[in-house]
């Protein structure tokens, strides 16, 4: 093999390795859903209030996995629905959550998680009605949960009724849904708090806990508390 050919081969191999590394860095390490920031203009540890609005949908037609169930977060700056499950809140503050439940019902594997915990008063409001326990085995009434294990927050998400024709395009802007509201206090120190759904809603996956249940941006994410 002549010298120019050898040099060219080496160059191509080098560029391939560098290109692969850059691709991995951008696609896997630096990629991922955006983080919605709810700390702007709020002083931490003052008991100030922030409002976070989310929705859970029966599908995610704006992603490469259109058949996966998914949460969306309403951007506090633009008001647009964003395909992400990452958000930032101030420490020592009251978070007022509003979650629109557009997805249909699926029973909890463990009915224990139908109990509301960790919210102020250990209560949620479903379409305005105070609730502290939903029995997901008694009927079509729970779609998902919003749970932050480290803060003992567990909220069963009410679902539309039996005859509902579910919204078919994400993010949902119309269609039958339940409005779940609740509040909780953030810790006074910084930290990342993972949150997840406890309904085995990864349809088509072993145990129902694969796919969207194990993928950030769909049914699990992180709440970053900033002091």
């Amino acid at each position: 093999m002549s010298l120019p050919v050898r040099i060219a081969t080496l160059l191509v191999a080098f560029l391939a390795v560098v290109g692969g590394a850059v691709f991995i860095l951008i696609h896997y390490l630096l990629g991922g859903p955006p983080v919605e920031n709810f700390t702007a203009g709020v002083r931490p540890d003052t008991g100030a209030q922030v409002s976070v609005v989310m929705q859970e949908d029966p599908q995610n037609t704006v992603s490469t996995r259109p058949d996966w169930v998914s949460y969306f977060i309403k951007s506090p700056t633009t008001g647009a629905w964003v395909h992400t499950t990452l958000f930032t809140v101030p420490a020592g503050s009251r978070v007022n959550m509003t979650i629109l439940g557009y997805d249909g019902c699926t029973p909890l594997r463990n009915p224990y998680w139908g109990r509301v915990t960790g919210t102020i008063g250990n209560v949620i409001r479903v379409n305005g009605k105070p609730t502290s326990l939903i029995n997901s085995w008694s009927g079509c009434n729970v779609g998902h949960t919003f749970s932050i294990p480290a803060l003992n927050v567990n909220v069963p998400m009410a679902s539309p009724g039996l005859t509902a024709t579910l919204c078919g395009t994400s993010p949902c802007t119309s269609g039958p849904h339940k409005v779940v509201t609740f509040s909780f206090m953030t810790p006074r120190h910084s930290g990342d708090y993972i949150w997840q759904c406890r309904v085995p809603c990864g349809g088509g996956f072993l145990d129902g806990f694969g796919g969207p249940m194990q993928t950030i941006g769909f049914m699990t994410g992180s709440m970053q508390v900033v002091a």
Binding site: R109, L166, I194, L206, G210
Partner: protein
């Protein structure tokens, strides 16, 4: 050849100078080091060896580790002593270009080495087997069919693994389920460990209890908490995205404090206890699919997550 010459003895070889007794030297170096090491291990280090003495099983595991360390230390110190002695005494001196003395077998040394090491290994084999089998041993009170059970009526605590949280049921207190693990001091506890989804592993570190949580299996582990205080519970089986976050903290409290806690928690959780399935050693993982099928028959749509049959298309 003359007769005189025939009778003359052969010239005697010059007597080699008597060398030091290396074996005795090494022994005298090794003996005090081994004794000191064993005393330090047993008295100073031993009480701090994991997993501590918070429970009967933890104390038993600590004792086993101490015994093995006390036996292993002299062996390790002998090897290191011999190594150091050889490096210093038998090293090649400056200007010494001759070969070292020829090696000869020494049946006494060989027999001693084989005998001592055999005795140590056989002792450890017997000791380990006995320690596995006796009360508090790692192999006795654990497994779906434990070969040893404590006397009396131990406190039953069901450990339920699920992605990614352990919950605990107390069947002798109405079957309430909680995320808190509270145990009474001085009372035998029977953990019944199972899972609702994938394989987890219940590891109560300071209690010296580790038991796999498999769906459809009732894995039993006994222990008796001996001291009040906190302990860490971790999942020790890679179980998904948030496996690393699957940990919590348990408490050992006095018997009276435990009774108070159990009674108040039972009342506090009465509403959710009513909607739980009846207490069982395992829970049928097909319950959710059955409910889903009933819902599907009724034309109810939803996420439909459940145990899928192997022929189902998308597996992770």
């Amino acid at each position: 050849m003359s007769a005189a010459a025939d009778a003359a003895p052969p010239p005697a070889a010059p007597a080699a100078p008597a060398g030091p007794n290396h074996g005795l030297r090494i022994f005298l170096l090794w003996l005090p080091l081994a004794v000191i090491a064993d005393l330090v291990i047993w008295i100073v280090w031993g009480p701090h060896l994991p997993p501590g003495t918070m429970s009967s099983s933890a104390a038993n595991q600590q004792f086993d580790i101490k015994v093995m360390a006390v036996l292993a230390a002299p062996v390790m110190i002998f090897v290191l002593t011999y190594f150091g002695y050889a490096l210093i005494v038998w090293r090649q001196r400056d200007g010494d270009t001759e070969d070292g003395p020829a090696l000869h077998g020494n049946s006494r040394v060989q027999a001693s080495w084989i005998t001592i090491t055999s005795v140590i290994v056989l002792f450890l084999a017997v000791f380990g087997t006995v320690e596995l089998k006796i009360a508090n041993g790692a192999g006795a009170g654990e497994g779906p069919s434990p070969i040893w059970k404590p006397g009396g009526a131990p406190l039953q605590v069901q450990v339920i693994g699920q992605q990614w949280k352990f919950t605990y049921r107390y069947p002798q207190f109405g079957g309430f389920e909680t995320t808190q693990l509270v145990l009474p001091e001085g009372q035998w506890v029977a953990f019944h460990v199972t899972s609702l989804d994938v394989i987890h592993s219940f590891w109560a570190y300071q209690l010296g209890v580790k038991a796999d949580a498999n769906p459809g299996v009732d894995n039993v582990a006994y222990t008796k908490p001996e001291h009040t205080g906190g302990f860490v519970v971790r999942c020790s089986e890679l179980c998904g995205l948030w496996h690393g976050a699957m940990f919590d903290y348990g408490r050992v409290v006095s018997m009276s404090a435990f009774r108070t806690w159990a009674a108040s928690t039972r009342v506090q959780l009465a509403a959710v206890t009513r909607i739980l399935p009846p207490y069982a050693t395992t829970y049928d993982p097909t319950v959710v699919p059955q409910i889903n099928k009933a819902m599907a028959k009724a034309g109810i749509g939803g996420a439909n997550g459940y145990y899928y049959p192997p022929q189902d298309p998308v597996q992770p």
